[in-house]
């Protein structure tokens, strides 16, 4: 695999030619905030948190979905990007009902961590306070739509790794919801193998294991990548 040389925030780094800007940056120890990206899953470029500036391109590009090129000059942390990222995280907090104080994932939540990372002291937007349901019909897991950020990591983990596709999205705009099978309660979704990969993949407290209480939900999302790697490399 040919190598590419590029600069990120002025630092010269080299990357493999098929790597994304995100991968190259992480290998060089440069962190770029992400939410919809999860190692081991396909890229959807949906959350827009990883947008970076690339010299010569007027448009911001998602680092997770942009392949490195020779001589590329990338900026990952300009004031403009910081302002956008903070706004996006605030929009998420305003969209559903994130009451961290009573959330299973508090302390182990990627959204909460993002708030810190992007410097969110408070939310400037009106809270939409939608009426969201909680589905605990599954014997082992539950889904609380109050905390879902529609990243589709559960959808992809289920489809691409477990090969089942229990999850999908129904509805559009801010009314979109993750659904199981053809929008039946999770417990009645006969395709679900109860493997728990969606639980591993979920960045927030939306998918939880039943019985866990406030701040108890700790998971290791990197296990998805481990499973995928094990499969690809035939460990």
């Amino acid at each position: 695999m040919a190598a590419r040389t590029l600069t990120i925030n002025g630092t010269l780094i080299s990357a493999r030619s098929n790597e994304t800007v995100l991968e190259a940056a992480r290998e060089a120890g440069i962190s770029i905030p992400t939410l919809c990206h999860l190692d081991g899953l396909s890229e959807v470029g949906a959350c827009r948190l990883c947008l970076v500036e690339i010299a010569g391109s007027a448009k911001l590009q998602p680092a997770c979905h942009t392949t490195v090129t020779e001589g590329m000059e990338v900026q990952t942390d300009t004031p403009r990007l910081k302002a956008h990222r903070r706004a996006i995280v605030e929009l998420l907090f305003a969209e559903r009902n994130h009451i961290c104080a009573v959330c299973v994932a508090s302390g182990h939540c990627e959204l909460q961590q993002l708030a810190v990372e992007v410097g969110m002291s408070h939310v400037r937007y009106e809270y939409l306070s939608p009426d969201c349901s909680v589905d605990i019909s599954h014997a082992r897991f539950g889904i609380d739509h109050n905390r879902c950020v529609l990243c589709t990591r559960c959808v992809r983990a289920c489809d691409e790794v477990e090969g089942v596709h229990t999850w999908d999205i129904a509805g559009r705009g801010t009314n979109a919801r993750v659904i199981t099978d053809l929008n039946v309660p999770w417990g009645e979704a006969t395709s679900c193998t109860s493997c728990g990969k969606c639980l591993l993949a979920c960045p927030t407290g939306a998918i939880f294991s039943r019985g866990s209480t406030v701040a108890e939900l700790e998971r290791d999302a990197s296990r998805i990548a481990t499973i995928v790697a094990a499969r690809n490399e035939r460990w």
Binding site: I88, L92, A94, R124, R172, T174
Partner: protein
Amino acid sequence: MEFQDLQIMAEQERSRRKAIRIHCCTSSGCQASGALELFHQLQAAVEAAGQNERVDIVGVGCMGFCGQGPMVSVEADGVLFEHVRPEQAPEIIASLDGGPCNVKQGDHAHPFFSRQLHIVRRNGGVIDPERIEEYIAVGGYQALYHVLHEMSPAEVIDAITRSGLRGRGGAGYPTGLKWATVAKSPGERKFVICNGDEGDPGAFMDRSILESDPHLILEGMSIAAYAVGADQGYLYVRGEYPLAIARLQKAIAQARKHDLLGSQIFDTSFNFRVDIRVGAGAFVCGEETALIASIEGRRGQPRPRPPYPAEHGLWGYPTLINNVETFGNIAPIITNGADWYAGIGTERSKGTKVFALTGKVRNTGLIEVPMGMTIREIVEELGGGTPDGTPVKGVQTGGPSGGCIPEALFDTPVDYESLAEVGSIMGSGGMVVMDATTNMVEIARFYMEFCMDESCGKCIPCRTGTVQMYRLLSKISAGQATAADLATLEQLCHLLRETSLCGLGQSAPNPVQSTLRYFREEYERLLRKRVRINLTSR
């Protein structure tokens, strides 16, 4: 089918014509005001008057003056009737022999007609869109024959490139360049897609073209398929257009019957099939990658580009996707030559553009005008100004992705760059005229509500930013907002433009930003000093 066969068909068709041909528009606009009943009454009146040998009543496509429908015209002497009621049919037939006629007459010399230039719509209101013979009688499918027998694919692409044609779906991407990219992208198969989703509120250009001249689009797609090396085409039409779909189905069946679609077209090795895919009415499915997902049977959501469909499109194969009107220009360009086309319009925007002229304007309907005509000419001369003669305040072009242009800038010529410079876009062709009574904050709110409802929900800025913006606009409109709210609105405009995944979110701020640019005082007038909050109503 051979070239001679085309000519024979055309000749046969012309020779079976009767002395007098009366055109009755049976497209959606006129159907909505009772054109079908009128059509039958006209036939009955001919019958009753014993004029069957002499007079033919032909159901034709849209004449453009849809606001005055149902429309009827007499071909030979060019008489135009407006607002015709079914019971007036006998009067019209009697008038052919000098009988008195009180049916409201239109004027062909009126600038609304005389200042138009019909390329894409040249057969609209002239031929029966449901009969391939009529299309062939006006020279139809000769361009395809010419291309298949006398031009290499590269020559076709070169002709389209030299014509200067740019995509009519909104962004104005050079069509020849797009074709060239698809042609040289490697792939076992290639596809051609015609984008007939037309989801902008108020737009009906593409519907009218599809209803009035379906073979023109099939011919354009076939020429494109030959040029890029595709053998399968899809016509993606929104489900709200049943008449367009029915006429396209008929047209495809007729073209197949005459071997103008299918295998070995015109006895060459060129094969091309076309199928219709009906959209379920999501605006975002007009976005090319969402449209492709929809054809593939997946949820209609955009994906990041690159890769562009030209390289990685339908089922991963190189795919050409063009708008209906873009395809409508192809056969005329081949027939009349690239230089002819390049001679029309402005330096960088060639040819004509079809607009749906609506709103507070005397003459509403579909117009096709050369690029470079000024907005003032369109609104004041063709449109005839406001119905009550009061001053025009501005026009909105480009629908939810476009902007408002104030009267002071009406000397802006209609071309891609000039419209972008004044903060709007050409868009697909919606043009809404506004008078002094139009509330600009409400206009912005209307389009934002549309974008909010139509956001697919995939990316965060558009999904939830449009909701926030809609709420802020509602708050401003209700006189409940502060200067801080207006600042937040402007900051969100910036966010959506720069960070949204697809064109819907990226251009959703346009109506807000353009009204703020030209009519800011209308916003500021509505602001209050202190925050207000609702208490329990008791």
